[in-house]
Amino acid sequence: MKRALLQALADHGLASEVQLVETGCMGPCELGPVLLVYPEGTFYVRVRPEDAAEIVVEHFLKGRPVRRLLWTEGAPPPREIPFFARQKKLVLANSGVIDPERIEEYIAVGGYEALGRALTQMTPEQVIAEVRRSGLRGRGGAGFPTGAKWEAVRAAPGTPKYVICNADEGDPGAFMDRAVLEGDPHSVLEGMAIAAYAVGANHGYIYVRAEYPLAVRRLEVAIAQARKLGVLGERIFDADFSFDIELRMGAGAFVCGEETALIASIEGRRGEPRPRPPYPATSGLWGKPTLINNVETYASVRHIILNGADWFAQIGTAGSKGTKVFALAGKVRNTGLVEVPMGITLRELIFDIGGGVPAGRAFKAVQIGGPSGGCLPASLLDVPVDYDSLREHGAIMGSGGLIVLDDSACMVNVAKFFLEFTADESCGKCIPCRVGTRMMLGILDRITRGEGDEEDLRRLVEIGEMVRAASLCGLGQTAPNPVLSTLRYFEDEYRAHIHERACPAGVCPDLVHYAILAERCRACDACRRACPTGAAQGTPGQPPYRIVDSLCIRCGACLEACPFGAVEKRPGQRG
């Protein structure tokens, strides 16, 4: 697409008048590739290389937008489209607007002004007080108050001190950190520099997962440019403060996102967590006081310094301040990244911004907080999205992954799927997590095969609570959440699997069966030809056909093949 646009611009002699900027993610990924044209703010969606010439001729030469590629024909500019209008962009404000590979563009929108102000007009104590007063809490999952953490690192004895940015983003379904790193890398560097000044560190690390090569490249460029301009290095802004940042890459281990595991990994060891305390604030990298925050946390800092703690604190709820980026996914019309004020309800998030569940299906649950999060049902859609409300209802904010499930989802299966992930990623160091998650998986597997009994439900809760209480790190402590929350809100579905040997959503292959509706069958033979095992049987022209259950492998091929809707998938085993 980029090549095609550049070519078209060159063909029409516009190469020097129109600048093509490769930006970070703008959010509405399902409409991609997207193109935003300034100064008007025209928003093109689903553009293809073939469209390049037309866009150039019509838009740039003749000055009229290409209507068929607009968001919707004749639609208002993006600011007024609900998907954008209900959002509040701080952390993502620059993503998709500036060229992340040019520090000049970041500076043009006020970049490094906050660092300048902190270094020249504030003492480190004042910076910490400001962050504390803003109410900012860590965006990496646990929601620990950022100001208190900074203060602990500043107060900790020992030198040198380190500042680390956790960019190991591993929660499946979460990609906000990648969007910030790729779309606005300097905002992270600036936040780290301010933090370093506040806690008294001169050296920083960014630990990025190796699966993000573009983010790594953009960070390398950003760091090089920042050094050249003197916003990293010796005597920044002529203040008595030096700070430099190095990149470190992960190597494919989810648990390395946990802070003590991450530190072990930087030190060149297996990325296994260790018990806390001591916390990294007192004994972190090489045993020294270390500040570790998430990408989004650092990216929020400049807004607090620039606009003041009071301004920041008026966004959000009593206990959760500012904005949070969510990754909307699953059965929802608008998928992608959205940034909203804390305290927005799930309903607003999923229905107003997300556009709701696509036609023909009903909302069933939302899985929030990644594999360590929980599933909330429709009755809780008016719960405000903040750290404390979510935790109270058995989910967590986590990194902000949000997967909408419709009525075609089996909650037992969903719980099993997420638990499989954590069981796989368990580093194996502590027994509750390593063995407990496997035991729970075994039980879930039995239930989905129709071999569970009532005792199993009690056992799941018992083991789940043990794993939660006894695991060494957050991975194990939160691993039972998907199971415990689905048990809490969808116990009926578990019981249907156990007592009726039926999967109400029709997902678990052992707990459904296929049948042919005699009155609809026209004996066209389509099902028999599609069936790989000879379970669909009959003679052309002689309805009805039938399905021999003992041969059926529940592949659904007959259902797809039948032109008359005569094949039905029914919950339960064949009676």
Binding site: G173, D177, R209, G268, G271
Partner: protein, 152 residues
């Protein structure tokens, strides 16, 4: 670049361990780390060989066995799963004639699964080396493999 040059670019500190290992593995056309590599790195960063071995076996991206020139990593996380990663996997299996973890006899590809690659907006997704290929359909899988086969 030979191994000594690659390693020599890094300071003699254990915090460079993973970076050096990544570089060495990438420089090897068979995409793996040899015992020789581990010994060289251990000596350079000042860790016992056993500690380096210990670390290498922990991370899923490092391999101690030869792999294909290109590593295909298909995302198996929820969003991609829901979006139909399994039909892409079936296509990959058929095209390459290997199962997950396997390397094609011509040494061109190794097929692996991975957890979320953070590009869920274009699920289902796979990475071929550093290239992200999204919105996978069996057709798109075929085209991508053909493109890499052609390039060798």
């Amino acid at each position: 670049m030979d191994k000594e040059t690659i390693i020599g670019q890094y300071p003699r500190s254990p915090d460079c361990l993973l970076s050096i290992l990544h570089d060495l593995q990438e420089a090897n056309p068979e995409n793996y780390l040899t015992e020789d590599d581990l010994a060289l790195v251990a000596a350079h960063v000042g860790l016992p060989l056993s500690a380096v071995h210990d670390a290498v076996t922990f991370y899923s991206m490092f391999s101690l066995r030869p792999r294909g020139r290109h590593i295909i990593r298909l995302c198996a996380s929820p969003n991609c799963h829901l979006a139909g990663a399994w039909s892409a996997l079936a296509e990959l299996r058929t095209l390459l004639g290997v199962d997950v973890g396997g390397t094609t006899p011509d040494g061109l590809f190794t097929l692996e699964l991975t957890s979320c690659l953070g590009v869920c907006g274009v699920a289902p997704v796979m990475m071929v080396d550093d290239e992200v290929v999204g919105n996978l359909t069996p057709d798109k899988v075929r085209q991508t493999i053909a493109r890499y086969r052609e390039a060798g």
